[in-house]
């Protein structure tokens, strides 16, 4: 099976296909389409490895991240995205946001 993440983070591989998403728009939509168990699983898996993952990524210049490292960063971005639901709202949607929409139309990559 092809792996998406660096082998040092093999135990996060099961979350990679779902959460390695390059844009905020995709990550936000995935959050809205996920239940709390799915988001809780990513949150629980990445929390103990976050510091290591950041240090691992930072062995490379930001604009020259190899593909698997770039996907690890995307996974961290998703982790930040779901943290809002996991830590605060206990639901995918922002509490009291009604049907408000705000699209991110420009962002630095990665």
């Amino acid at each position: 099976m092809t792996t998406l993440l660096p082998p040092e983070f093999a135990e996060l591989e099961e979350h990679a296909a779902r959460w390695c998403l390059p844009s905020e728009t995709e990550r936000f939509e995935r959050r809205m389409a996920s239940d709390m168990d799915e988001m809780g699983a990513l949150y629980a898996a990445l929390s103990p490895r976050l510091e290591e993952a950041i240090e691992f990524c930072d062995k490379y210049p930001l604009d020259e991240l190899p593909d698997d490292v770039q996907r690890l960063l995307q996974l961290i971005h998703s982790y930040v995205m779901v943290s809002m639901s996991v830590e605060i709202f206990h639901q995918p949607k922002i509490v009291d946001s009604a049907d408000a929409v705000l699209r991110r139309v420009k962002e630095p990559r990665p």
Binding site: F28, M81, M84, F89, A98, V101, R103, R104
Partner: protein, 419 residues
């Protein structure tokens, strides 16, 4: 409860600025005819910010803007001489929209050496001169020099590109901005170029969303569910007071005090804020921007959180103490709809750790903004219902009062305005 921060000698900021203290009406936000007057009296006369120079990195770079409030589309382009110019996006031959990509209604951007109309291939150089007419001999006494693109007045201030649709602007851009805004000159906008841009269509009058971001009285209530219970309870108990307000001409400012999150008890913080060292107030580790110009934090608040400069009519520059800034634009599309744009600008991340703190800050911005946006459509509907016409504003809402007052004054005083 006595005020946390001293009030001006008049006893309130509202009276200090010579504003009325009675209830206000939002008749200016629910009326199609008033909106038509705003377009002529305000948007066709004022200098409007349409972008930044980073969107035009080299000669030949261009972008288009659909400006419904001016009933036009414009193309903004950097010439080979480095000058930034703005043109109405219309071919002089038969009025076709000149620059568009997939769909004529959508804004576009890119790089070119010249503009070529898709209809009959008339060409214009980057300075707007007509350079080629297909089968020119078939025309009657046609002089290409008479058919250059139609210019809008365009000036750049601190990297912000402004246009003015008036045939002759009543003020230079710097005169229009005035000393409170031009005192920001030298702020390193040109170094904070990593942009997270947001956009949405809002079914409310443009001023109602400006109002929402012009006061922080709402923050401990509307946003209470954004924070751990302990922090939210303390914030609600304390209420909100700004340490400093300023008004100058049509523009206005509110400064807020800072919060040293990194010194707080972790039980008052989101775990992700501690892990990423970022949040609503921005990355905790701020870039060294050197000495800031005198126009920043003019009230000398300590600790200082942010300055929200609200530039008339529809542009906000919000400078954070943590070394980054936000802009907001509110582009009316009708009396009860507008397009909101928010952009978050950071110093470009040099590594993944900084990038993640920025992502956390940008994500948090959106979580809050979605709560701010949710109230607007309902407010518009209820104000439009017309059953309630008098609304009280407190001293922390002084800037709303000023915005609506200035809008009313400009509309009333505009030459040709109906009595």
């Amino acid at each position: 409860m006595s005020p946390r921060y001293p009030k001006p000698p008049e006893g309130s900021w509202t009276e200090h600025f010579g504003l009325d203290t009675g209830p206000v009406s939002y008749a200016d936000s629910v009326s199609p005819s008033f909106y038509e007057r705003e377009r002529d009296a305000i948007f066709k006369r004022a200098w409007l910010n349409v972008g930044r120079v980073e969107q035009l990195p080299r000669g030949g770079s261009y972008f288009t803007r659909e400006l419904a409030v001016l009933n036009t589309s414009i193309v903004v382009v950097r010439g080979m001489d480095d000058e930034v110019r703005a043109f109405h996006n219309v071919c002089r031959h038969r009025g076709n929209k000149l620059v568009w990509n997939e769909s004529p209604e959508e804004e576009t951007q890119g790089f070119c050496r010249q503009f070529t109309c898709k209809y009959h291939a008339w060409r214009y150089d980057l300075e707007g001169n007509c350079t080629f007419v297909q089968q020119e001999d078939e025309f009657f006494d046609l002089d290409k020099a008479d058919y250059g693109l139609t210019r809008l007045h365009c000036e750049v201030w601190e990297g912000f590109v402004f246009v003015c649709a008036a045939p002759e602007p009543e003020w230079s851009l710097r005169e229009f901005l005035g000393p409170m805004i031009t005192a920001l000159e030298g702020y390193p906008f040109d170094r904070l170029t990593s942009r997270f841009g947001y956009r949405t269509e809002v079914r409310a009058n443009w001023k109602l969303f400006m109002d929402a971001f012009a006061e922080f009285y709402h923050a401990p209530v509307l946003h209470s569910k954004q924070s751990p219970d302990k922090y939210a309870a303390a914030a609600r108990e304390a209420g909100y007071e700004a340490p400093y307000y300023a008004v100058e001409g049509p523009h206005r400012l509110v400064s807020t005090s800072g919060v040293r999150f990194w010194e707080m008890d972790p039980s008052s913080l989101k775990p992700m804020e501690v892990l990423t060292r970022g949040g609503l107030f921005g990355p905790w580790d701020k870039p060294d921007l050197g000495e800031l110009p005198a126009g920043v934090n003019p009230g000398e608040c300590k600790p200082w959180g942010l300055d929200s400069f609200q530039l008339f009519p529809n542009f906000v520059i919000l400078i954070w103490g943590q070394g980054w800034y936000l802009t907001y634009h509110y582009w009316p599309t009708s009396y009860n709809t507008h397009i909101f744009e928010g952009s978050v600008y950071f110093s470009p991340a040099t590594n993944v750790r900084e990038r993640i703190a920025q992502e956390m800050s940008a994500v948090t911005f959106k979580e809050f903004a979605l709560q701010d946006a949710n109230t607007l459509e309902a407010t518009q509907l209820m104000v439009e219902s017309g059953y309630v016409e008098r609304f009280p504003l407190n001293d922390q809402e002084v800037l709303l009062r000023h915005l609506h007052k200035v809008v009313g004054d400009w509309v009333d005083q505009h030459a040709g305005a109906p009595a």
